[in-house]
Amino acid sequence: MNDHTLTETEIADLRCLAGMIIPASAQYGVPGADDDTIFADIVNSIGRDRNDVCAALASLRALADGASFAALDVARRSQVAARLRAEGGPPVGVLTRIVLLCYYRDDRVMVSLGLEARPPFPKGHELEQGDWSLLDPVRARKPFWRPAS
């Protein structure tokens, strides 16, 4: 889980924030976004969004008055996270997008949503043909395209 683009403090803050965005749920039997496997995916997926993620984490730290976000007490973390979401701008949107996309491709999460844990190809998906008699009232209409002359 070591990523040279982020410091240990930033990684700890990011992990803490990810777990606050999507916490584990016993009700649905799913991990939070701070789960080992999911968080490793998050860190490895930052890639070209590194600058935005770092900017968001810098904002997080500033809102925490320079302290480590992860080291704050629960109530203070909630306040800071809410302010970050409201005031953090596009970099927070990028960070959140990475968290969401990694979370919702985790095997356990996909299965909990009734999906197969796999990419679309090569198996594809079944789709109902549907009832084409629904077209009957449309077929009954006269042509209504506009003649050009």
């Binding site: 990419p119 679309p120 009832d131 395209w145």
Partner: protein, 532 residues
């Protein structure tokens, strides 16, 4: 210096592929230069678990975000709609949603019928045989009998209705409004060596199944077998001209970045509505100081985008979710002019099947529907797979201030000046968007949808790049003539979306390709007098 060719085509996308294939029967020596490379279906996003994330990186629709080596930057800061495209063999057909309507007969006569813009120098009847030929070459699925169109018969049956299509159909019937299965450039049966659609559900950023008709797997295999040479990783810098004012060929950078001169008897541009004016403006010379083929001063002007809006909401019953091609139905209830609506011309509804789960999460977050922390899971489960979405494609009228010029600073990786886009949504289109969004809401409310959300315009929605080298009979009011030949340079042709006079209100790829086939036929019929 390279060996001289009879025909040099620049760009291998929708129109370049079609014109190459059609001209191949002449047995002329034909070369196409493409700035990108062949794509591999095994690399396409839907092969992997990160398929949704890749639309934010190497399969982003915007070249400014994607930044592949084949991409060139575009300064679109002065436009509320950003240019989206793809640069590879197949061009933007690799990355489109394969919604494949034709322009309507009225679209070619807007001045006569509605007193706005200009009539085209050709009409629907002229293009009709080329529409049919293109449908056959592309492999189009759909259903004959749509009362919104002149009769035509797609060669394959339509995409399935699915749950989403069924819900839309029931709702539109309840409202008494037109709907019909879309003509789609997606194979629903085995077709010309292509496998049928298996509902991967992630069509836009390339089809791993090969069911979607991108020209790298439709026209190009046939054109290459017929003798056309396709040279990849070759970015053209400029069209060159001789003392007689005729095009002599093109200077391009090869895959090693070395400048090469390719002589040619005929040059055909197929770089679409931004790439074509960019290249012609970059081809300015002492004889053509304002850019090549620009005696009218209209090169780069009259850019039309089709401003898009999206209205979506969530219904109680499950929709198709991540399954199936995103687009399956259209409605042209409001396509033709009705002045009582407060605007002229019209728009097309595209019904979107829905989106993948990661995309749904990101969209819900952006729209403020998804809480952080407690409540996240319950809320997300109420949204995912329940989306109902209406896309709106509005006709964009030509206005000269909407234009492509050369950026004075920005350059691509070869140092070639980049295009600059300046664009504002026109008043007529703005009124049309108001009306269309209200009707989109009517549909969703009739379906029982909640949490309605409107996106206007779709910022990264500049797919359709039209009008910047318009066709016409008057050299003072157009860039090319009625069969695609430059008024100024008689061995220079344009076959892409830039020659559109007006935009219509539907996706243009089908019409672009029909135009390319029509121009190729005009050239073949005039081979002995092509430059007269």
């Amino acid at each position: 210096m390279q060996d001289k060719v009879d025909v040099l085509i620049i760009g291998s996308g929708a129109s370049g592929a079609a014109v190459a294939w059609s001209l191949a029967e002449t047995r002329m020596k034909i070369l196409c230069l493409e700035q990108g490379d062949w794509m591999k279906q095994s690399d396409y996003p839907s092969n992997g678990r990160d398929y949704e994330a890749r639309v934010f990186s190497d399969y982003a629709t915007s070249p400014n975000i994607r930044q592949r080596p084949s991409d060139y930057p575009i300064n679109d800061d002065n436009s509320p709609i950003k240019v989206v495209n793809f640069n590879a063999v197949g061009g933007s057909t690799v990355m489109y949603t394969a919604h494949y309507p034709r322009l309507h007969p009225s679209d070619f006569r807007v001045r006569t019928l509605d007193g706005v813009a200009d009539d085209w120098p050709i009409d629907y009847a002229t293009l009709e045989p080329y529409f049919a030929e293109n449908d056959r070459m592309t492999g189009v699925s759909g259903l004959a009998g749509d009362p919104a169109y002149p009769a035509h018969e797609p060669p394959m049956p339509p995409l399935p209705l699915g749950r989403s299509g069924t819900k839309i159909a029931q709702t539109m019937n309840q409202l008494g409004w037109h709907w019909w299965p879309s003509d789609s450039a997606i194979a629903t049966t085995e077709y010309d060596g292509r496998a049928p659609c298996i509902n991967l559900g992630h069509c836009t950023p390339a089809c791993a199944q090969g069911a979607k008709a991108s020209t790298d797997i439709t026209y190009w295999p046939h054109a290459i077998r017929a003798g056309v040479e396709l040279r990849t990783n070759c970015r053209v810098r400029e069209i060159t001209t001789g003392d007689d004012g005729m095009a002599t060929g093109a200077v391009y950078y090869d895959r090693d970045g070395v400048a090469q001169f390719q002589p040619a008897e005929v040059v055909i541009l197929a770089c679409n509505g931004v790439g074509t004016p960019r290249l012609l403006l970059n081809s300015a010379s002492g004889r053509f100081p304002d850019g090549l083929a620009n005696s009218s001063g209209l090169l780069g002007k009259n850019l039309m985008f089709h401003p898009w809006a999206l209205v979506h909401g969530y219904v109680d019953e499950p929709m198709d979710g991540h399954r199936g091609p995103p687009l399956c139905l259209w409605s042209q209830e409001f396509y033709e002019t009705d002045r009582s609506r407060g605007f002229v011309r019209g728009f097309n509804f595209q019904f979107n099947r829905t989106v993948g789960i990661g995309t749904e999460a990101v969209s819900a977050e952006v729209n403020g529907l998804l809480p952080w922390g407690e409540g996240h899971h319950e809320t997300f489960r109420s949204l995912v797979g329940h989306r109902m979405s209406v896309g709106i494609c509005t006709e964009d009228l030509p206005e000269e201030h909407n234009r492509v010029t050369l950026d004075p600073v920005l350059k691509d990786s070869h140092g070639i000046p980049a295009p600059k886009v300046e664009y504002a949504i026109g008043e007529n289109t703005s009124h049309m968007l108001d009306f269309a969004i209200d009707r989109g809401k009517d549909i969703l409310l009739a379906a029982g949808a909640r949490n309605l959300h409107v996106i206007r315009p779709v910022v990264y929605g500049g797919w359709h790049l039209l009008g910047t080298a318009r066709m016409g009979d008057d050299p003072e009011r157009s860039v090319v003539n009625s069969w695609g030949r430059s008024h100024d340079v008689k061995n220079l042709f344009v076959v892409d979306g830039s020659i559109f006079v007006t935009s219509g209100g539907v996706n243009p790829t089908c019409t672009i390709q029909a135009l390319a086939l029509y121009i190729a036929d005009c050239m073949k019929q005039r081979l002995a007098t092509l430059f007269d």
